[in-house]
Symmetry: C3
Subunit: 362 residues, 3 copies
């Protein structure tokens, strides 16, 4: 149970009303029981308070909380941001941690910092280095000579490949794979794909060839405060490391190919794919299912809408949408026009008839 006054203090926010009221968690306003804090972050959510039994709520600055029948409110100038601190305070977690399981397999040559936890059936390979306070869940694999910074959290079944280097406070959801081999294959002679890319569509004479594997000699380097979502994959580089900058967050089922460089404080939403050797600047947000072709440069502060397919470089600050990716306003206009085409076809047909009827020679 948390006292309203204590929550407000922990978050650096003001409260009004009965600061001694206690809550055991949070709830949506409409179904909120009396012992939870209602998340009435904006007026349309607050409308739900009438259906619930909340006695206290988190609300926007200036909200007239007493009007909603509450006994107390915590008031936040940017309630969505206040949720970050509040949710960290309230999170009961997934029960990971608690020391080094006797069912783990930790190589004696691995270096574990202070207060490291290692879950059951996890393997830590020779030469791996784990920073202070890091919690590694069950069934993980940390490859040879991998480095994992302090204060990190690996959920169940995370795989970190050999020689990967990761900064502090890293979070990996279940099933993450960092440092699998890049997808890099080459034919003995020039392939149809190479020719089709040069000619934009003509692959020329096609020869029977098989693919030789180019091994990935680089690793992956990840900055501080990065998070990677469930079952996402970051491949190792071919010659140098694949890189992900500090503060960048990847959602679930994201693919980052070999040699890719993702800058700082980016968001890559679910099912995004970035093909080999492309670079992404800082503070860029790629919407869910966005695809980025190989060897492209995406600038900083770029935003792509859901499922944008980027087939060419994108300068800084652009907001993109569509397949192929266009500036968002161009895209919206283009598709409005696409829907208006039937009318245009009719108009032109009518014009041709009119002009033809008017007896003009062609």
């Amino acid at each position: 149970m948390h006292r309203i006054s204590e929550i407000a203090e922990a978050l650096g926010l003001a409260f009004e009303g009965d600061g001694d009221l206690r809550v055991s968690g949070v709830a949506e306003p409409a179904g909120c029981p009396p012992d939870k804090l209602a998340m009435a972050l904006k007026p349309e959510f607050a409308a739900g308070l009438a259906q619930g039994e909340a006695r206290a709520a988190m609300m926007w600055a200036g909200a007239d909380w007493s009007e909603y029948g509450l006994a107390a409110a915590i008031l936040a100038p940017r309630p969505r941001f206040a949720m970050a601190g509040l949710s960290a305070l309230m999170d009961p977690g997934q029960g990971l941690g608690g020391g080094i399981s006797d069912k783990a397999s930790v190589d004696p040559s691995a270096t574990l910092g202070q207060d490291v936890s290692v879950g059951a059936f996890t393997v830590i390979a020779p030469g791996a280095q784990i920073g202070d306070g890091t919690v590694i869940g069950p069934q993980c694999w940390i490859g040879p000579d991998a480095v994992l910074g302090a204060g990190s959290l690996l959920h169940a079944g995370v795989r970190i490949g050999a020689r990967v280097r990761i900064g502090q406070r890293f979070i990996a959801q279940p099933g993450v794979v960092v440092g699998g081999d890049g997808f890099s294959f080459v034919t003995p002679e020039v392939s149809g794909v190479e020719r089709a890319r040069q000619s934009l569509g003509d692959q020329g004479e096609v020869a029977e060839q098989s693919w030789a594997r180019i091994h990935s000699l680089g690793a992956v380097e990840i900055g501080d405060d990065v998070e990677i979502g469930a079952n996402s994959c970051v491949d190792r580089g071919t010659v140098r490391d694949t890189r992900i900058g500090e503060g960048t967050k990847l959602d679930n089922l994201v693919q980052v190919g070999h040699n890719v460089i993702v800058g700082r404080h980016c968001l890559l939403c679910a099912q995004v794919g970035v093909a080999g050797s492309s670079t992404i600047g800082d503070h860029t947000v790629l919407g869910g299912q966005t695809g980025v072709g190989d060897n492209l440069r995406i600038g900083s502060n770029v935003i792509t809408g859901g499922a944008t397919k980027v087939l060419a470089n994108v300068p800084d600050g652009r907001v993109m949408l569509g397949y192929p990716a266009m500036k968002m306003d161009t895209h919206i206009e283009a598709y409005k026009n696409l829907r208006r085409l039937p009318r245009l076809f009719r108009d032109v047909a009518r014009l041709r008839k009119t002009v033809s009827n008017s007896g003009e020679s062609d």
Copy 2:
């Protein structure tokens, strides 16, 4: 070996011919050996019987089986539906089950029902509850206080997060993650993404900001008779639970974001992604690689074709296709028109020339 008469009886179907004939499995008609049941479910499949050695077949009601040189046939009014029962009868399974492995790690505070199996290297955390007859494969992780209903089957490497609640007869293919954290991050000040969404493309002045994590305090609630495909992910909710209704099936590599509500008896085909806080009605079918943006409402009985990208609400009963999603017939018409554009450009150019030649002032 199964007798034809017994198979027919088990499926509630009629057979004709020699009911004592025995088969050890099923096969496609063209390569069918004499001891298998040929799946000649429609006339074009039955044509293959001549190349095979089948002595018995599953066929459509009214099929003239003797004409195909068979000794027996099971006749089904809807043969594809009969496949459901037949395949259940014939499935040798994946060898899971067989009691609680001494290589598993089951917390003493977990509650296991009657006849529960737990595979090697599986972890069951404190407070988890497993229903009667449920089979948990090897290398799974069941988080603290998770509830898994009776008669369920988890294949290898499935992760069920803390406090997730799942109904009866749940099936999870290998690598499924239910209850990873939602992808929810917020900047201290209003971000470019927030502005671009409001203005449809203009993100305004861009400030250097980093992302604060909003923890997922909700869990996931899954109804009875749900199946989830290999390496698919269902994230926990932010305040309330993410929900999947009874009878709904998810294919492989599907992403269901935080707070999403999927109704009853839906199909989400492979690589579908549903972004945070969207809702999907009942009996809706999303084709492979469909994307649904965040905070949208997709109705009941909606069908989306492959790779449909849904950027706006969809009312009940709609059949959609394309990116952006349009009604299927509108989409087909629009793309026909797109291909006809070169001719339209030529027509208009010719008209302009004609009209200009005709001496009219512009």
Copy 3:
């Protein structure tokens, strides 16, 4: 440390300069330390040599290496292909192998060839057969009666289902799932989806129905020299096996549905999805995020650009792009035209005004 002359000999290439020079690995030209071999594979890369300290480089045939201040060079007629052999020579690997872990669970009825390695917490089920020299990493699961050819390498957490048969020199990155169940469900009565497919958009009267599961009685058959990327999935077939031909490579997060047949020497790039019962010829390359609908035939030597969505059959040798997939040149033309539509609308509006002003009757 490798001598330049020895590397050249191992690769069957010529070297020039000081063959006794030794290198410990490879690096990009611009950041290359003196003890690494710079990958100056083409003139634009070689320009970086001036910023680095390389003393030796891999270069194209005929390169004037001494001009770049190098002491030695290995010259390759097709440097990208030479990378295959060079990278294999230099790869330190992921530390897998080293015998059968006493923390693995290997059923006594499984057959292991000579020099097989099995990692910690791996389960090998009854009747499985593992070929000579195969290395199985930690936390893998090999199902009952599965067959895995000689010289294969499974990274951590790979799952191979029951009765799956795989050829020699197979490589699976972490988290691969081969032989999960197909996504095959059927309603008792004709469903809206079946009707919508026939009518191209009209699902008719919608009845409340639930989905019955069709079990996958087939397995998966994979040829020699196949590689599958991290967290990719290949489903088992319904009646016969799903098949992947020799030499074919799948990238990360790829989905291959039930009954699919992929030919020989294909590349399926990251996040590709191929829906049930489709077939793909030989030497076909599907770009990242390509989707292939169910029951389609994609020919041999087909190339699809990134995110191509294939909704109809594709003949041999085609280069495709877009959604819906078009021939690449048609697609490029169509989208140029889409962007030119605003001008066309203006032109037509002006023409209508002109023609109308000219007094012609409509």
